[in-house]
Every structure is written in structure tokens, then in C-alpha cells.
């Protein structure tokens, strides 16, 4: 069944913070599982039609990454929380190092891998 959320793009505040579950080993499965995520409060996710493990595209300053939705009480009430690291660094700069605005939308795509960003970086 087609989900109405697919057509929705909403502007949110993104808060960037450290996630204790991200390991030092950036090539591990555990790294990807804990770094390529966006945390949303349950109520906010429900109101906007997002569910745990959905993939959302986050777009800021013309750049996008796809991250997996995780439900968490520690997320901002009306926004998303993403961990410090390569995804946040891709989306923002020092003007919005800890907080910035972005558009989010549900996508039927894979999450962005660090290798995708590294490839673009190498140009």
C-alpha cells in the first residue's frame, strides 16, 4: 500500500550529539548500525508517518544522506537527533555544528554508506 508520508517533506531542526554505542572501529557492522541513524521521538514519528527502521532522506544545504529511523526518548520533541560523525559533517558546517535545519522525507532507498561520501570526497 502506498504510504502518504512518501509525498511529505518536512523541515525539522537537527540536533547533533555523541552516541555511546558507536565503536572506534569504523569498518564494523556495529558502526554502521549505530552511526547511520536518525533518532525521532515516538509521537513526532507517528504524527509524521515515520516508523522504526524506515529510511529517511535528510537534506541540508543541497546535500542529502539516507539514514535509518530509530525511536528514542532522547530525540528533540519536534526534530531529529543524529550522531556526530561523517554524516553530520557531510550535511553541515561550523555555523550549524550542533544544530541546523534540514528537510526530511521517507524514501524507499538504502542508507548512505561512509564509502559513498568518501567516493564523492575523492571527486
Amino acid at each position: 500500500m502506498m504510504r502518504f508520508t512518501k509525498f511529505l517533506k518536512i523541515e525539522v531542526e537537527v540536533v547533533v550529539a555523541r552516541n555511546a554505542l558507536i565503536p572506534d572501529n569504523k569498518s564494523s557492522k556495529e558502526y554502521l548500525e549505530n552511526a547511520a541513524v536518525a533518532f525521532l521521538q515516538e509521537e513526532f514519528a507517528k504524527a509524521n508517518g515515520f516508523k522504526e527502521n524506515d529510511v529517511i532522506r535528510i537534506t541540508s544545504r543541497g546535500k542529502s544522506v539516507n539514514l535509518k529511523v530509530k525511536i528514542s526518548d532522547a530525540a528533540p520533541k519536534k526534530g531529529i537527533l543524529i550522531p556526530n560523525g561523517i554524516y553530520a559533517s557531510y550535511l553541515t558546517n561550523f555555523d550549524g555544528f550542533k544544530r541546523f535545519n534540514a528537510d526530511i522525507e521517507l524514501v524507499d532507498e538504502e542508507i548512505t554508506r561512509p564509502e559513498d561520501i568518501l567516493e564523492e570526497l575523492k571527486g
Partner: protein
């Protein structure tokens, strides 16, 4: 007799880690947090290899190539040093001095400004041991230690019983958490505690100043009144400031210092930077001793300036060669800045195959601090910690830097 090791996963530098080995395999890690345990348990994973232009080479070839690039560089920068021992930081500083190079670490966009105020005695400070023994109000401002400094509260601040704090955290401590969201640390706020959901840190600073001056602040009046009242109950209180505070102040440090001075007119309040990288403060202190500045320094111009911040140098194409050691800037710097690293001669010295190693011209493998190399590190409260390596490798940060220095000295 148990041997204790030091975790270099963050600036807590917990030195009570027990490790059980089977030969060179780590079997069990006791006491460490999850991130710290992984550093020991997975020390063999994702290791850097000697690389030149994406191809694996012998270690000596990588060293020679690194030396060649450094020798031929006309605008050279050294960056990182956040996780390497002070002994290695000193050699990096010597190289920068000899090359009249730029030198910087992550503190420039992290907690450097807060550390600088402490080192210049502009903010009263204390050690974790003092906090544990004496602190009543423990105020985490713009930091979520639950995630960034996992044992900060359990080992050093809120939970342990201390000399003058014998009745446990429920009665003998007052926890304050100021954050833009209800972080995991803020969720601990229950009895004898207060969460301040702050959307403007400067207004909270202003509220404290106004309440002490018996004026009505624009916002946070109830919070400020309650926190000041609690601080006045004790002769030792502490504010632990993190990145959220640093960015929330938007450079208005004079206002923050005014607030601390005002607080100290009515109570005793100390400040400790609450940062992440194991030896970020070590670099700040080491460079400070040498130059009087803590970061973003040019040995050519003999001054520190935002123009010499590593990210500004890259953005403005001011360096042709960069030595990155003990840091992974591709993980933490904005994409547009990291992109420049892929264009210049980047030499990475790192035990891990970091993101920056994957785009570097030369990669030189090194040792993991606390696991394969020891040395001195400085905790976020300024206490020097002697780190013993679980193993001692011949090839470590001191060795690699000494080898690179051969062509400079």
C-alpha cells in the same frame, strides 16, 4: 596483584581497567564502558597498513615518502594529536617549529576556548577528585556524559561517595542538566535535581546574572533562582561545560566569565571543560607551555589566529602538505573542508584505517594509545595520567614522528 590499564576512549582516562589476555588476544575487559571495552577487545580490527597513493607498500617506503613530502613542502601543517601521548605531541610541535609550520588540533572547533579560559586562570577550576569529595551542585551544561563521557558520573562526579559526600547522590548531590533536548543524562533528573530545557544559552547566562543582582530575567527565572539557592547550600559546586555550551555562547565568553564571577560572589562554583578526545587538553597544555597559545598556531608568524585554524587553512588553500596524526578529520570536519584534504599531500599516521587514511596520499601505521603504547595524557580536568600500554610496540607515535623528523632537524 592486578595490573590496571588506562582507557583512552575519552578524556575521562579511566585508569582502573582490568584486562585478561590469552597471548596477544584480549579475552575479557572489566570496568570499562562499552566504547572503552571495544578499544581493547577489537584492537586488532580495521588496522592501518602502510600505503602510498592507494597501494600497499613496506613500512619503510611509507616513512620515506612521508619524509619526502614534508621536506619538499613549502606550506606545511600538522593537525590532530588528540589521542597521542604528550611525549609524541612534543615531537610534533618540534617538527612544526623547525618547518615554521602551522599546528592545530580539534579543540579549535571543540572545547579549546573553554580550556583556554581555564589555563589562563579566567575561570576557577577543580579536579575530579575534588568534585567527588566535595561537590554538591553538579551542573552539566551542553553535554550528555551518558553518551560522550560514559563513566564521568559514575567514577568521578555524581554517583560516588566522597569525603564530604557520604550519603549518596540522592541526598548529598544536586544534579542540574541544561540541554536543548531531554538527553539520556537529563533523564536521570529526578529527586534533588533539575533539568533546564534551554533554547538560548546566553539567556540562561543572563538569568543567573540577573537573579544574583536581584533583577527579573527575561527567561529561566525559576531555574536560575533554584540553582543559585542550591549552590548557596554548599561550599563546593561545579559546572561541567560541553560543546553545547561552547556553541550556545556564540563567542560571548566575557558574559560567561561575568556569570561565573557573580556566582562566586554568592557561592563557591568551579568550572571543568567536559570534552571528548583522550588527550585534546594535553595538546592544548603542551603548546601553551611552549608558545602561550593553545591551538591554531603559526610558527612562522609566531601567533595564534583563526586564519591558522586547520579548517581555515584548507578552505583557503594555504597548505600544500598536511601531517594528520591522532585524529580523523574526515569524520569530524565539514565535507567542503575534508574535500581539500583529498587534493593536497595528506600524510596520515594512525593505528586504524580511518576515513582520513582512506583518502590520504601516504598512510603510516602506528600504535593504539593505552593498548600498544604508553605515555602521559592529560584528563579534561587537567590532571596528568601515566598511561601504561597493554603491550609496548616498537612502532608507535613517538617512533614514527622521530623518523619523520630526521629530514627536518
Amino acid at each position: 596483584m592486578v595490573d590496571y590499564y588506562t582507557c583512552t576512549g575519552c578524556s575521562c582516562l579511566c585508569d582502573d581497567i582490568e584486562v585478561e589476555l590469552d597471548g596477544e588476544n584480549v579475552k575479557i575487559v572489566k570496568t570499562a564502558c562499552r566504547r572503552g571495552s571495544n578499544i581493547f577487545l577489537e584492537y586488532k580490527e580495521n588496522r592501518a597498513e602502510p600505503i602510498i597513493d592507494g597501494k600497499k607498500v613496506e613500512f619503510e617506503e611509507a616513512i620515506k615518502k612521508g619524509q619526502e613530502l614534508m621536506e619538499n613542502s613549502e606550506n606545511f601543517a600538522i593537525y590532530g594529536m588528540d589521542t597521542i601521548p604528550v611525549e609524541a605531541q612534543k615531537i610534533a610541535i618540534e617538527i612544526a617549529e623547525s618547518k615554521e609550520a602551522y599546528i592545530d588540533n580539534s579543540s579549535t572547533y571543540c572545547l579549546g576556548d573553554l580550556v583556554e579560559m581555564v589555563l589562563k586562570n579566567e575561570l576557577p577550576t577543580a579536579t575530579f577528585e575534588d568534585v567527588k569529595d566535595y561537590a554538591y551542585v553538579i551542573f552539566y551544561w551542553g553535554v550528555d556524559p551518558h553518551n560522550s563521557l560514559p563513566r564521568h558520573m559514575s567514577r568521578y562526579t555524581y554517583y560516588p561517595r566522597g569525603k564530604k559526600r557520604q550519603r549518596g547522590y540522592e541526598e548529598d548531590r544536586y544534579l542540574v542538566v541544561a540541554d536543548v533536548r531531554k538527553s539520556h543524562t537529563a533523564m536521570l533528573v529526578a529527586k534533588n535535581a533539575r533539568f533546564i530545557q534551554v533554547d538560548d544559552d546566553l539567556k540562561l547566562v543572563d538569568a543567573f546574572i540577573k537573579v544574583i543582582d536581584k533583577q527579573m530575567p527575561e527567561k529561566y527565572a525559576d531555574d536560575a533562582v533554584r540553582v543559585i539557592r542550591e549552590m548557596q547550600k554548599a561550599d563546593f559546586n561545579v559546572i561541567m561545560g560541553g560543546l553545547g555550551l561552547r556553541y550556545g555562547l556564540k563567542g560571548n565568553y566575557e558574559k560567561f566569565k561575568e556569570m561565573m564571577n557573580k556566582m562566586n560572589e554568592v557561592a563557591k562554583v568551579y568550572f571543568i571543560p567536559a570534552g571528548c578526545h583522550a588527550n585534546m587538553r594535553g595538546f592544548n597544555e603542551t603548546l601553551f607551555e611552549k608558545t602561550g597559545f593553545i591551538n591554531k598556531y603559526s610558527f612562522k608568524d609566531k601567533e595564534s589566529s583563526l586564519d591558522y585554524a586547520f579548517f581555515e587553512l584548507l578552505k583557503n588553500d594555504k597548505v600544500d602538505t598536511a601531517l594528520v596524526i591522532g585524529s580523523d578529520p574526515v569524520n569530524s570536519l565539514p565535507f567542503e573542508v575534508s574535500k581539500k584534504l583529498a587534493k593536497i599531500n595528506t600524510i596520515v599516521v594512525d593505528p586504524r584505517n580511518s576515513f582520513t587514511a582512506k583518502i590520504a596520499k601516504v598512510v603510516i601505521p602506528s600504535a593504539i594509545s593505552g593498548v600498544e603504547q604508553g605515555g602521559t595524557m592529560i584528563r579534561s580536568d587537567g590532571v596528568r595520567v601515566k598511561v601504561n600500554g597493554l603491550f609496548e610496540r616498537e612502532i608507535n607515535d613517538v617512533y614514527v614522528l622521530e623518523r619523520l623528523k630526521e629530514v627536518i632537524a
